[in-house]
Subunit: 341 residues, 2 copies
């Protein structure tokens, strides 16, 4: 796997063409995924059954021909393993029946051990076996700040004001909980790598709601800690909305930084000269015609240039995207680069 | 009113101290507001009854002692006047029973005339009379892109992917609808000024979900058109999340640019050297203790410096903010500046 296109690029090495994969490629848009999802009845069953998780992980490799697989799972398996159960409500997203409201609630939590997430590790082993070296496998976890937000809010939010209130009113407690999440995540990611993950990605989905000074103190610090603790493989950090932290991320111990579609490419290159960049086509660009998709994809590829780039969208795939347009995006990346070579 | 602290500052002139007001100050946090709200039964009744709208507009002037009033209304009165009725669902926000799905739906719409929004104009006249010159009055409207999004989505959204899909798949139709909204808004804002508004603010709440090139084409263009059409008074443009458009906004025909709390102050000064800046304390900073609020407010004031600044939050007040903390924010702005003078 060390010699694959994707791992080479993620390690900052030159490659014959730009590799491509998509966030949320495992699931959401494929009819083949929805069949497995129906078989599993609910989302968590799918996440917790290694055979099914492996199957939907492999689908985009076979059907879309992406250059990397990403294990089908959820960032909220970490708070669950720590002692805070979540449920997935149809069309509503995750909900925590109990949430963390004060330091007293920490008594119900513990630092998760990888054994509590054995089902993810089994899904990784199984996937690796079935991939049989075709493409590498990405493991992942949520950034501690994003996990913290869910544990405090109990669900998604427009302002995440309850989680942010905690940072302002109880900074010591906030750091204590963030530390527990960070420790759990380091153990978990190391176990994913032992089970076969070739590269790992950290998703900071709610990065964009913090003021720059708070982001540094309550999020970047913990992502850095994770990156420093994991020298085993290349690491991708995707902090959606954290345009203000790009300069600081250049000194972080990760090889790749993911960009969302708001972040200008030239500006990001200037702020992150030492990193491989991943991204960043607007997922809504795939709503256009095939011609539109080709044009927008080429524009993006030209802006990034032929090296130090992993092609992706600037966010996860939206559920109503047509498979044909996704294929068009992937093919365009592969073709455009060939022409350049 | 031309000589008031706030209008002077909004015109780019030197003032004895930094003026201060808050977005969503009219309503939300005051018990006095909730009493009027209960009397009116529902939100739209409150918006449409000039006496009640004027009353809640005046409350923050009397109770919080801000340096400007902002007329109590809603940005969605414009689509309603154009022919698309909205409803306000408790704890859920606005919902449009019918929404715009294709060019055919334009037949039900027209360019709104100010007479259709007479209730807002009456509320403005009434407020001005009762203010009796104490502080100036801010009028406002939503930016065309934000109004367009609501008309297409029918409600708030996490991704606004339906509205964005329209930009990608039907750009000509999108421009047609944006033009109609822009025309309606220009007439409306001019009427607000005739009725007594001293300064106007344009709110682009959903600026942050567009890619930079789309923001320029589908939002900035129309905000510029509005600014160009209204030489009568100073204009404030607040485009939440449009960090990427700051350099372009420096050449726009408005006097003041509002910043959200993600936007670095020094960086924004460099990108917007010709503008007065408004903002930008994180609304969640008001969850801290009085000492915290004072410290964070002073830090912000020092970063902006003593001139070309209108103090505000980086977003509207959150409903669970304590009145005492809001007062502390306002007092700190007034005191800190006095010390400097």
């Amino acid at each position: 796997m060390q010699s694959s296109l994707f791992v080479q690029a993620a390690s900052g090495k030159a490659t014959s063409r730009t590799p491509v994969w998509l966030m949320r490629q495992a699931g959401r848009i494929l009819p083949e995924y929805r069949k497995v999802r129906e078989k599993a009845k609910d989302f968590k069953k799918l996440v917790k059954t290694p055979e099914l998780a492996a199957e939907v992980t492999l689908q985009p490799v076979r059907i879309l021909e992406v250059d990397a697989a990403i294990i089908f799972s959820d960032i909220l398996v970490i708070p669950e393993a720590m002692g805070l159960n979540y449920e997935m409500e149809e069309n509503k997203g995750p909900v925590f029946p109990k949430k963390i409201t004060s330091v007293n609630d920490l008594r119900g939590l513990h630092i998760a051990s990888p054994e509590e997430l054995q089902y993810v590790l089994d899904a990784i082993s199984l996937t690796k076996k079935e991939l049989n070296g075709a493409v590498p496998l990405i493991g992942f976890a949520g950034a501690p700040w994003t996990i913290f937000s869910y544990m405090i809010e109990g669900r998604g939010s427009k302002t995440f004001s309850a989680a942010k209130k905690m940072l302002y009113t109880q900074p010591a407690f906030s750091h204590q909980l963030l530390d527990m999440i960070t420790e759990s995540t380091i153990h978990y990611l190391k176990a994913q790598i032992r089970a076969g993950a070739d590269v790992i990605q950290i998703f900071d989905s709610w990065a964009g709601i913090l003021a720059p000074h708070q982001y540094k103190e309550f999020s970047l610090k913990y992502i850095s800690k994770i990156c420093d603790a994991i020298p085993e493989c290349p690491k991708i950090v995707f902090a959606k909305g954290a345009f203000f932290a790009r300069a600081e991320m250049n000194t972080m111990n990760c090889e790749v930084v993911g960009l969302d579609w708001n972040m200008g490419i030239a500006e990001s290159r200037a702020l992150l000269p030492d990193k491989v960049l991943q991204g960043n086509l607007d997922p809504c660009a795939l709503y256009g015609s095939r011609e539109d998709v080709k044009r927008e994809t080429k524009k993006m590829l030209d802006a990034f240039g032929p090296s130090k780039h992993i092609a992706n969208l600037g966010h996860g795939l939206y559920p109503d995207t047509e498979v044909d347009k996704v294929k068009c995006f992937i093919e365009t990346v592969k073709e455009h680069n060939k022409l350049k070579a």
